[in-house]
Symmetry: C2
DNA sequence: AATAGTCACGGAAACGTTTCCAATCTGCGG
DNA sequence: CCGCAGATTGGAAACGTTTCCGTGACTATT
């Protein structure tokens, strides 16, 4: 029995002293190892009386597991990401793990550094990289080098991670093509995100193919690319749209994502146009925001939340049972959500 | 010089061996303690060559700091919270700290348990509690008991935390009253969040006082409370609004927050009403969503992002310099944001 | 020129766990 | 009654840092 003065936060040692057993016994009781019922009861009582709970720092020092997974994302502001996050948390629920968040908003470079530090310092047991792009390659490689499981939520599959979660953008574009063709549109415009974005390219590809299948050709002059996927891109496109003469304007425009589409819609409404009479609008993603306005936004929904949840579950599985490496890619189907912005 | 086989992740010891110094010296170099230029260079080179970075687990075991702060919130989905988060991350930027996220969405009870565990296990250095309410009292007390600094972003001030950040809801209500009175509205409706919500009560109080100051009385039959602050509450209120006879309807309605207001607006637009001709709509919070629709939502903006940032900075200050307890409350001013939903 | 005072560096003791190994104890069959 | 297997418990060595303390060298002061 130690003669140390018991003060401050109770440690495993205080518990051991109080229950008059060895430290290792307490550890076993806590972690569900073999122990007689008598001892178990005695230790448990000491734990309850002292209000003991183990120090994660000490635990992870020896077990080499932190109980945290890292979530790195471009922008925590986008409603699309909110859905991903909701899914991740849903999957995390029962696991007694926590999520470390790094969103690379404005301060992109710094935040990437933060994630790199997590990897180096082993602050996380695994990593979910959202909207991974070429630029993030170093992060990915660093994680692999440290043997850290990584899950990607991104359209790209160049780097085979434990799991790559994406949705079928080409199909999404095709659905839009069909929908617009069925409505009788012949003059369609496309305003994507950045020209080099894989999402944008795939969606455009699907749209273009789907249209020409139906005898409609996408006028190259009606293809536009934004700086990013933000509202502002949609607004910028709206400006250039409005500058065209009435007769030259496409009768339907397809935006790179919902956020852009909403920015576009807001601006043309503001300028007195009627949606969908004067112009039909289609977005991508199916974020809740699209249902927040009137007219509601027609869009191609992806199971965003489920994607986040599945990604997280896959990561947890891998974290909890190391060794069995498997590297797969899952592609989710998409669904046309017809609201009021098209006719 | 140790004869251990150097394998796996480099430790401080590998560095010490390689640079032929003691590990305490390496530690000093890393942490900026005193060391001669010669030694410093030698150690630094060893660090670079080995790609060493310290293990946070070991560090926090001895320093009793984890470098993480916890952020607990009701719903990660709300745009208001997104702004708070953005502010927190902005403030966190240069500090080499990370944010552990717990959002208590659907799984409220479980998540509160997660936060309690953070506190017990000392997984975080400090805590930001958002939308703290009576129900979270135990969390707050537990943190205080463990000597964990806590910052509250909430209208309530019953529990004095290190810092309580809130905005002036009464003033916000007053601003709305003035705005509507100036526009000539005499029949005003109010649809708040939950009846017991402090935010709602204060906003209603300010509104009601401001109106009667100008000779307008709020008809008690036109005061309504929702289950929560979600879109659905706004929609539910819209239903009951639409059920009233044209002549009985208020000419302007004030909703509990922007999300509700947007839900309301969407529904009445959907039913063919014109905004603001048939009804003027006002929200609270000033979230970006209110600018996403047409007509844009008139609302009372709070400096949400700055509130998050200031809360975080205050917390960091306290975490980094323990001892100087100070417990303050900051109240932020609000600002009327007139858009197109009122006339 | 002697001595006090700095400064740089090494050694070693924490920090609070888990886990391996040895020791003891129990019950059972021969 | 003895030996042995299996279960239970205690002891001690990690895990990778920081930090305190002591020693030796070097500088400055009288």
């Amino acid at each position: 029995m130690s003669s140390r003065i018991e003060t401050g936060k109770p440690t495993i040692r205080s518990v051991a002293d109080r229950a008059d057993v060895a430290i290792s016994t307490v550890s076993r009781v806590v972690n569900g190892g073999g122990a007689s019922a008598l001892i178990r009861r005695r230790v448990q009582r000491a734990i309850d009386e002292l209000g003991y709970s183990p120090s994660v720092a000490a635990q992870s020092l020896v077990t080499r597991r932190t109980g945290c997974i890292g979530l790195a994302v471009n922008s925590s502001q986008s409603p699309w990401f909110s859905q991903i996050l909701a899914g991740v948390e849903e999957a995390l629920g029962p696991s007694r793990k926590s999520v470390l968040l790094a969103s690379m908003m404005l301060t992109g470079e710094y935040q990437a550094g933060a994630v790199a530090a997590w990897i180096q310092e082993r602050r996380v047991d695994g990593l979910i990289l959202v909207r991974y792009s070429k630029r993030d390659e170093p992060l990915f490689l660093a994680a692999e080098r440290m043997g850290l499981p990584v899950v990607l939520i991104a359209p790209d599959v160049t780097a085979p991670a434990e799991l790559t979660v994406r949705c079928n953008n080409v199909e999404a574009g095709g659905l839009v093509a069909r929908h617009l063709a069925e409505l009788g549109h012949r003059r369609v415009g496309f305003a994507g995100g950045p020209r080099e974005s894989v999402d944008t390219r795939q969606r455009l590809e699907g749209l273009s193919a789907g249209l020409s299948e139906r005898g409609i050709e996408l006028d190259p002059r009606q293809i536009w690319f934004g700086q990013g996927y933000a509202r502002e891109s949609g607004i910028a496109y709206a400006k250039s749209f409005l500058e065209q003469k009435r007769g030259d304007r496409p009768s339907a425009v397809v935006l790179g994502n919902d956020t852009m589409a909403l920015g576009f819609m807001r601006t043309v409404l503001q300028h007195g146009l009627h949606v969908p009479r004067d112009v039909s609008i289609v977005g991508f993603d199916g974020t809740p925001d699209g249902d927040q306005c009137w007219p509601g936004l027609t869009t191609v929904a992806q199971p965003t939340r489920r994607m986040g949840a599945d990604a997280c579950r896959a990561l947890l599985r891998r974290v909890d049972s190391p060794g069995e490496e498997q590297r797969t890619a899952v592609e989710y189907g998409v669904e046309m959500l017809v609201r009021e912005s098209t006719a």
